[in-house]
Symmetry: C2
Subunit: 195 residues, 2 copies
């Protein structure tokens, strides 16, 4: 996975990460709804190779495309976004692209999805980076971000000369992987028994 | 919109539909996150024309593609799906495709999104069709359905001889429209203040 120890607040696989309450059976059922196949795993590995040296540009695109909507979550209510907070998250966001493509979706991955989920909510937002900002990202916008995070990836997937079919396979797998993670991240937002 | 009075349980615009708690400002902000443009409205109108005589085939594809996962929500826990329930929802699902493409996304539309949302949850599931089935669709699967409902539409959008750019515009607008509705449908699942 390369050296990740230098990314502030990135605790993938570290012992302080709580265990996810999501079961392997629940994960499998979600993948069924997403029509997930082994081909998607392969396509994500290929996407990881294609995106590896582009992650900075990808996240830069997201920061610009989603502006000013995304940056509001890096600011106190009605205030200005915190540039250091944006930069700390940028590094984790870049790593998240590679994790999405390359990590096995196992228990360690599920645990880190749970950690990411909590960092979007009142439970843990702002704590990792010790910042003063709004205390949650609303669930509806977490869901809505599926669109820009998916649609904007395609030009990057096609930037290395792969043919249209390969690009499409990578794109579809990416779309599934993003949607899967948003479904997992929705858990702490849901009322008891409704997730 | 054509004759819809014959669709069982379809109450779009009828006085018994509750008002949505979602504000126009919240809807606008969601559309911003989705990078919504006027071009998307136009592309959805075109998609409505393209899909109008294909809605039966589209929903048939969804019923098959998502089987057995989708049909579980038409059954009591551990039981067999209710064929009449499936057929009643099929007719509304077909109409939903046209509503997604053709209805203005105004207060009446927001109210019906709220009604659809409630029909997925303990609040109203099974009541419209007077059936015995599981009492909710879990939030995580509502979110995951964004993928199959989006990905499977593309062949239908390209079935009428439009060029690739037009098909892509319709596809992107459809993807945004589905994601927008899932974001709206998530509201009754969310804890107070977290939506």
């Amino acid at each position: 996975m390369g050296t990740t120890g230098s990314i502030p607040g990135y605790t993938y696989g570290e012992p302080q990460v709580q265990h996810s309450p999501v079961t392997a059976a629940e994960l499998d059922a979600l993948k069924e709804t997403l029509l997930w196949t082994d081909g998607d795993d392969q396509a994500l590995r290929l996407a990881g190779d294609v995106l590896e040296d582009q992650v900075g540009d990808v996240v830069a695109t997201w920061y610009v495309a989603a502006h000013p909507h995304l940056v509001a979550y890096f600011a106190p209510a009605g205030g200005a976004p915190d540039p250091e907070y944006l930069e700390r998250v940028r590094a984790r966001f870049e790593q998240w692209i590679l994790d999405t493509c390359r990590r096995p979706y196992d228990d360690v991955w599920l645990d880190y999805q749970h950690e990411i989920a909590l960092r979007h909510t009142q439970a843990k937002k702002d704590q990792t980076d010790h910042v003063n900002a709004v205390d949650r990202v609303p669930l509806r916008h977490i869901i809505a971000f599926i669109y820009p995070i998916t649609a904007t990836i395609r030009p990057f997937l096609s930037a290395k000369g792969h043919d249209r079919d390969d690009v499409d396979r990578m794109y579809q797998a990416w779309f599934k992987a993003v949607t899967l993670q948003v479904a997992l991240w929705s858990r702490p937002y849901a009322r008891e028994g409704d997730w």
